[in-house]
C-alpha cells in the first residue's frame, strides 16, 4: 500500500542519542512504563531464543536420540537431513547438478534486477539462457549425465523453477490479458473479464488441483504433458490473472491524453502500447507488482499438497520419518529462514525500486 502525501516530509531532525531516547522512549511517564515493560519482555524473549539457538546445542549426531539430552536446539538434524531438504528426491550423487541449476536461475533473476538488462531483447536472451541451463542440468541426458525425470525433481530447485516460470511466462500473459480486457471489442472484453474474475475468485489450490487431477479428464491424451508442466501452467495462469488486474489499474491511472497524443503522432496501436502506455503503467503498478511477486514466491509452497517435492514437502519428509520428528522446530526454522531470505530480499528490492522511481519523478 503506497501512501501518497502531498506535503513533502519534514527534513529529518538530527537528534542526539540521549534526546532520541528521551523523545522516542520516555516522552511521558506512561510511555516510559511501556518502554520498560515491553523492553524487558523483548529482552527476555531475545535471550530465550539465543539461549535455545546457541547454548547447549548439538551440531552433529548420528540420530535424533542425542537431541533429547540437550535443552537447546539440535542443529544436527540440519546436518543430517539438510541435503534431503534442499534437494528432495533428486539422486544423491547428482545433487551438484540441482545446486548449479538452482544457482543459474537465481543468478539470472539477480541479473534481471539490474537496470542494464531492462530491455526486451536482453531480458529474453538472459531468461532463455537461464531456463535452458536449468533444464539441461536438471534433466541431463547429455555428456554422460544421467537422465533424471521430473518426478524426482525437488527441493529448492523446484521451488525456484515454479517461481521463475510463473513470473517469466506470467508477465507477458498478464500484459496480454490486461490489454484484452481493455479492448474496444465487447465480446473479447467480456470473455477475458470473466476468465480473469473466475481465476481470481478461486483459491490457488483448486487451480493446482484441477491442473494435476482434472485436466487429464478433459484434455486429449496427446495434449496432457507431464504433471509438473501442467502445474507450472496453472501457476502461471494464476499469477497472470492477478498481475493483469494490477497492470490494468496502472493503465487506468494514465491520463487519456497520453494515448491520444501517441495516436496523433501517427504511432500504431502497438507503438502506443509499448512505448507510451506500458512503461508508465508499470511504474504506477510497481508497489502492487512487487507485492504480488512476493506472494507468488510464498505460494509456491502450496504445490506440496498436490504431491510435489519442493522445499516445504522435503522439510516435512525430513522430520516425518526416522527419529528426527522431535526436531520439527529446527527444520521449520531452517526452511522458514530460506523463504524469509527470498521474500524479504524481494520486498527490499521493491522498496529500492520505488525510491528510484520517486527520484526519477523529481
Amino acid at each position: 500500500m503506497a501512501m501518497i502525501t502531498d506535503t513533502p516530509a519534514a527534513p529529518p531532525v538530527q537528534l542526539g542519542a540521549l534526546r532520541w531516547i528521551r523523545r522516542r522512549m520516555f516522552a511521558t511517564w506512561f510511555d516510559g512504563l511501556i518502554t520498560l515493560l515491553f523492553g524487558i519482555g523483548v529482552a527476555w524473549a531475545l535471550w530465550q531464543v539465543l539461549d535455545w539457538a546457541l547454548v547447549d546445542t548439538v551440531l552433529e549426531a548420528e540420530s535424533g536420540a542425542a537431541c533429547r539430552e540437550v535443552s537447546g536446539a539440535c542443529w544436527a538434524v540440519i546436518n543430517a537431513r539438510g541435503r534431503l531438504i534442499l534437494f528432495g528426491l533428486y539422486p544423491y550423487e547428482e545433487h551438484w547438478r540441482s545446486a548449479l541449476a538452482c544457482l543459474a536461475i537465481i543468478l539470472v533473476a539477480v541479473c534481471s534486477c539490474i537496470p542494464w538488462f531492462w530491455k526486451m531483447s536482453r531480458l529474453a536472451i538472459l531468461w532463455v539462457l537461464g531456463f535452458s541451463t536449468f533444464l539441461a542440468l536438471m534433466y541431463g541426458g547429455f555428456l554422460g549425465l544421467e537422465v533424471v525425470t521430473t518426478e524426482k525433481w525437488g527441493g529448492l530447485s523446484l521451488t525456484v523453477l515454479l517461481f521463475a516460470s510463473a513470473l517469466v511466462f506470467g508477465m507477458p500473459l498478464a500484459i496480454c490479458l490486461a490489454l484484452l480486457r481493455r479492448s474496444k471489442l465487447p465480446v473479447i472484453r467480456k470473455v477475458v473479464g470473466l476468465f480473469i474474475d473466475t481465476i481470481r475468485s478461486l483459491p490457488l489450490l483448486t487451480l493446482l488441483f484441477a491442473a494435476a487431477v482434472v485436466v487429464p479428464f478433459v484434455v486429449p491424451d496427446w495434449a496432457q504433458g507431464d504433471k509438473l508442466m501442467r502445474v507450472i501452467i496453472a501457476f502461471t495462469i494464476f499469477f497472470s490473472a492477478y498481475q493483469a488486474e494490477i497492470i490494468r489499474a496502472g493503465l487506468q491511472a494514465i491520463p487519456e491524453g497520453q494515448e491520444e497524443a501517441g495516436a496523433a503522432l501517427g504511432l500504431h496501436y502497438f507503438g502506443v502500447v509499448f512505448l507510451i502506455l506500458l512503461p508508465q503503467a508499470f511504474r504506477n503498478a510497481l508497489p502492487a507488482t512487487i507485492n504480488q511477486v512476493v506472494i507468488t514466491f510464498k505460494e509456491t509452497s502450496i504445490v506440496t499438497i498436490i504431491g510435489f517435492f519442493e522445499i516445504m514437502a522435503s522439510a516435512n519428509a525430513a522430520i516425518g520419518r526416522g527419529d528426527w520428528s522431535g526436531q520439527f522446530i529446527e527444520v521449520y526454522v531452517f526452511v522458514g529462514a530460506i523463504y524469509f531470505a527470498f521474500a524479504f530480499g524481494l520486498s527490499r528490492y521493491g522498496a529500492y525500486l520505488e525510491q528510484r522511481a520517486k527520484r526519477a519523478d523529481r
Partner: protein, 383 residues
C-alpha cells in the same frame, strides 16, 4: 475506454470477435465432450444424483452431526460450514491483532515500533502453509492425555486437542442467539438514536438482555439426560465429556490469525497514516485522552480509508483456509477433493467447489459494501 470510435459496423472487428468466440466455445465444448466420454467409459453417471448417496468415509471435525453414513450433500455442507467458521474466526482475531500491530507500528514509542515491525516482517515473509505445519507440529507434540496440562481441573491441553468445559448448546442455539442479539442491537440502537435510551446504557442493556436470552436458550434447548455443563474427564487414554477443540482446527486458526494479522496490520497502518494529522491534533486540543483520540477519531477515520483493501484481504484469507487440507482439517476443499476421489463425479464436484467459493466471496463483498455504505452516509451526516 480511451477511444470513442465512430459507431459504424466494422467487418474486421466482427470477424475477430466471431473467431474468438468460436475458439472459446469450441474449447469448452471439446472439454465437456471428452470429460463425458471419459466418465462414461468409467461407468460413472453424470448429474447430481450422487449427492443423495452415503459417503462411506468419516471426517474428524464437523459442526453438524456427520458420520460415514451421511450423504454427500450433508458432508459437503459440513465442509462448507467448517471453512466458513474457521475463516470467520480467523478474520475476527486477525483484525483485532492487526489493529493492535498497526497502533504499535505508528506509535511514537520506539520499542513498540520495533515489536510491530519485527512481527510483520517475520510472519508476512514466511508462507502460510509453513506456519500451519509448524503450529500443527506444536499441537501434536504437546503432552499425551495422561500427562495433559490441566487448566485448574476444568480443562486440559494435550496432543489430542484442547478440552474445555462444554455447555449443552447446539448449533441451532448458537444461530438463535446470534439472531436474537442482532435484533436486540437494532432495537436498542434505534431507541438510543431516538433519545429514549441513554447512550451509556446501550452496552449494559445489550449484554444484560443477551445473557438472559442465552440462559433461556440453554435451559429450554436441553438434550435429555445430559448435564448442563460437562467437564472433561480423563478416561483411559482419552478424554470424555466437555468440548474438544481439535489440534487441526486450532493449528489452522492460529496460523490464519498470526499470518493474517501481519497483512491486516499493514492495511490498517496505511489507513492510520492517511488520517489527517490535523484531525488528531484537533482532538487532542479538545482535551481527549490518547485512548479517546484513537477510539473516537483515528480508528473510525482509518476504517473508512481501509475498507476496500480490507475486503480484498478478507476474501484472500478466506481462500487461503484451503491449505487446511495439508494438516488434515476437513474444510470444503478437502471434502470436495475426497468426494472426487471416492465418487469420480469430477465435473459436478468442481462446479460445486467453484459455486461454494463464489458464494463466500460474494457474501464477504456484499457485507463489506454494506458497511462501506453505512459508514460513508454517516460521514456525510456528520459534516
Amino acid at each position: 475506454m480511451a477511444h470513442s470510435a465512430p459507431k459504424r459496423i466494422n467487418i474486421k472487428h466482427w470477424l475477430i470477435q466471431g473467431t474468438f468466440l468460436v475458439v472459446v466455445v469450441g474449447l469448452v465444448v471439446s472439454f465437456t465432450v471428452i470429460a463425458r466420454d471419459n466418465l462414461l467409459s468409467q461407468g460413472i453417471a453424470t448429474g447430481f444424483g450422487f449427492l443423495e448417496r452415503s459417503t462411506g468415509w468419516p471426517i474428524n471435525f464437523a459442526l453438524i452431526e456427520v458420520s460415514d453414513r451421511s450423504s454427500y450433500a450433508r458432508m459437503l455442507t459440513a465442509g462448507l460450514l467448517n471453512t466458513v467458521v474457521v475463516g470467520l474466526l480467523g478474520l475476527f482475531f486477525a483484525t483485532i491483532l492487526g489493529v493492535v500491530l498497526a497502533l504499535a507500528r505508528i506509535s511514537s514509542n520506539a520499542v513498540l515500533n520495533l515489536i510491530g515491525t519485527v512481527y510483520v516482517e517475520v510472519f508476512r515473509n514466511v508462507p502460510l502453509i509453513l506456519q500451519a505445519f509448524f503450529w500443527y507440529a506444536v499441537m501434536t507434540h504437546l503432552p499425551r492425555p495422561r500427562e495433559a496440562i490441566s487448566l485448574g481441573g476444568l480443562g486440559y491441553i494435550s496432543n489430542r486437542g484442547i478440552m474445555l468445559p462444554g455447555l449443552d448448546f447446539g448449533l441451532w442455539d448458537v444461530v438463535l442467539l446470534a439472531a436474537g442479539l442482532a435484533l436486540l442491537w437494532g432495537i436498542l440502537r434505534r431507541l438510543s438514536l431516538q433519545g429514549k435510551l441513554r447512550p451509556d446504557l446501550f452496552w449494559p442493556s445489550l449484554l444484560g438482555v443477551g445473557f438472559v436470552l442465552f440462559l433461556v436458550l440453554l435451559l429450554t434447548g436441553r438434550t435429555p439426560d445430559t448435564a448442563l455443563v460437562s467437564i472433561p474427564e480423563l478416561k483411559g487414554l482419552r478424554f470424555a465429556g466437555g468440548f474438544a477443540i481439535k489440534p487441526e482446527f486450532s493449528a489452522l486458526l492460529i496460523a490464519i490469525t498470526v499470518f493474517g494479522a501481519a497483512y491486516v496490520g499493514e492495511i490498517f497502518r496505511g489507513g492510520f497514516l492517511s488520517v489527517d494529522v490535523g484531525k488528531t491534533e484537533a482532538a487532542m486540543a479538545l482535551g481527549l485522552s490518547p485512548w479517546q483520540v484513537n477510539r473516537l477519531v483515528r480508528i473510525p477515520l482509518a476504517i473508512r480509508a481501509v475498507l476496500p483493501a480490507l475486503s480484498n484481504q478478507y476474501i484472500w484469507l478466506m481462500k487461503a483456509t484451503t491449505i487446511g487440507i495439508a494438516i488434515g482439517f476437513p474444510d470444503y476443499f478437502m471434502i470436495v477433493s475426497t468426494s472426487i476421489n471416492q465418487s469420480g463425479q469430477t465435473m459436478e464436484l468442481l462446479g460445486l467447489l467453484m459455486a461454494g467459493f463464489l458464494l463466500i466471496n460474494l457474501s464477504i463483498g456484499t457485507v463489506m459494501n454494506v458497511i462501506n455504505k453505512r459508514l460513508a452516509i454517516k460521514g456525510r451526516e456528520a459534516d
